[in-house]
Amino acid sequence: MVAIELNTGARPAAGQRIDISSLSHQFELEGDPLPVLNDVDFSIEPGSFVALLGPSGCGKSTLLRLLAGLDHPTQGELRVDGLPVGNPDPSRILVFQDPTLFPWRTVWDNVALGLEAQGILRKSRSRVDEAIRLVGLGGFDKAYPHQLSGGMAQRVALARALVNDPRLLLLDEPLGKLDSLTRLTMQTELVNLWQRARLTAVLVTHDVEEAVFLAQRVVIFGPRPARIIADLTVDLPYPRHRGDSRLTELRREALSHLGLASTW
């Protein structure tokens, strides 16, 4: 769908560096504290693609919300490019599991949302067109969200994120609700988009295959309150092939960390 166009060479990696140190977080649930993250420590290199893998409800999504600045941690520190994470900022964009497009806006207006909110839309209308083309939705500018399929809507959500030139893309199971064929196509497109934009990508998923196929590194979390139980490096070049025996091996390793070795 999207042609691979690697900017090898001159331009340095545009992604942000992330440092997380002794991070803990808890929710108040009817007065009782519910710990969701327990003493999490790790760093992400600029421009890398990292998958956070773990059982559902373990607190991975909370970690993304903290990185986006939508919530603030109870304890510990989050640094992006050396600076503490404050309020949300368009350089760090979160893509949700649901596309959550604004139903009263056309595709074009949905993608333009960030530029409009920052008051720079007038000068950068061409960026909107470009982002829509990039995700393969040229010609759908005037369509309304209810006229789109699930895959198309999620592409619009990606374009809405990418148009802001983010340096950190936080993906919260963005392909979780798509049918399996669309999902495979979109996985390849995600890798292409990441390579093209040279940003840091953090993907939360509970799909082991997706994690090892997409990411350079897979951080595995245990059940709630989440802490890191393994950190795998996927030392394979892109484009990858699903049938690669190394991927199969990594999948088995990841599953064994998650206590599912017996299902292999």
Binding site: A68, N87, D98, W104, R105
Partner: protein
């Protein structure tokens, strides 16, 4: 990326071409039947002598004949008249029923006097009011519309602003909610004596009452609309760099608009009731006043005519609001069916 298989769409074109487009217009049988019914109605009105002679019987017969001619025109021209023809054809059965209804009404009033005269009007006596008293009726309509427009505008605006404020701000909600809970359900007409006493003119008192009646439903529905906006919309907008003003104007309000329109419809309904009561009791103009005046003179024909005009006015205003809704919420097309 085309959504339609080109081969399929070509086939579809072929199918449409099979339909004989240029053949002569197909005569609409139901339309001719309806025309016959209206000619029959004209004949009954003109030829059957009245028990008590009434003016304007001839005019009523002529109007019936004009309707019959229009139906014949639509029936023989096929689709040449476009959208008008389509609408008229849709209401073909209604046209027959209306002719039948007119004949029955005519017979039980003017022709046989089955229904006693001062309390039940014949069709031509209502026509008489329209033809002889249209100036006073028209003036009354314009007074009513102006009064309603003022009250409705201020009420809708106030309700919208209060609704957005308490939907958005916890503090505003804390203070306004109990007041709204207690004062809101009170029918606006209950304020009538007080309003006429406090306000300098009955006109301004009526504007206030209509605004009050409109504001309550608009406030409640706007508030619930703002409060039920998907929280993720705000998170999305915030990560994209939105400031609070953007969140209110470009996220909360557009998301709440479908609710707001429900409130506007409810407000329009209650504002009609308050308008008529206010005109009957205080304001010396408008359709409510006309009704009251007609009753004072026992002019029942005028009352029926005024009721008819009032029905037309209210349904027209509701239609206008529907049009505004459809235009504002055009993105809902295909999502909502009311």
């Amino acid at each position: 990326m085309s959504l339609v298989d080109p081969a399929l769409s070509k086939n579809a074109d072929a199918v449409f071409q099979d339909v004989p487009v240029k053949s002569r217009p197909v005569v609409w049988g139901l339309g001719l039947a309806a025309a016959a019914a209206w000619i029959a109605a004209a004949a009954v009105i003109e030829l059957w002598p009245e028990t008590i002679p009434q003016p304007y019987g001839r005019e009523l017969a002529v109007i019936s004949l004009v309707i019959a001619l229009a139906l014949i025109l639509v029936a023989v021209t096929g689709r040449l008249l476009g959208a008008i023809a389509t609408t008229v054809r849709y209401y073909g059965a209604w046209a027959i029923a209306a002719a039948l209804g007119l004949v029955i009404w005519e017979v039980v009033t003017a022709k046989t006097g089955l229904l006693p005269v001062p309390f039940f009007s014949s069709p031509q006596s209502i026509l008489e009011v329209f033809l002889d008293d249209w100036i006073r009726l028209g003036t009354s309509v314009s007074y009513s519309v102006v009064l309603l427009a003022k009250g409705y505008f201020f009420g809708a605006l106030t309700g919208f602003i209060i609704g957005v404020t308490i939907g958005w701000s916890q503090a505003a909600s804390y203070w306004v909610h109990p007041v709204l809970r207690i004062i809101g359900p009170l029918p606006a007409t209950a304020w009538l004596p007080l309003a006429f006493f406090i306000f300098p003119t009955s006109g301004s008192a009526s504007v206030f009452l209509i605004a009050l009646a409109t504001a309550f439903p608009v406030t409640i529905l706007t508030w619930s609309g703002i409060a039920s906006v998907n929280r993720d919309y705000y998170d999305i907008a915030r990560t994209l760099g939105a400031k609070p003003a953007f969140l209110i104007l470009k996220v909360a309000i557009p998301a709440a608009l479908p609710h707001v329109f429900v409130g506007l419809f409810m407000g329009l309904g209650t504002s009609f009731a308050v308008l008529v009561v206010a005109e009957m009791l205080g304001v010396k103009a408008g359709l409510g006043w006309y009704l009251q005046w007609a009753q004072g003179w026992a002019a029942y024909n005028n009352m029926y005519a005024a009721l008819l005009v009032m029905a037309l006015m209210c349904s027209t205003l509701i239609t206008v609001l529907f049009r505004v809704r459809d235009w504002t919420l055009s993105w809902q097309k295909g999502l909502v069916r009311w």
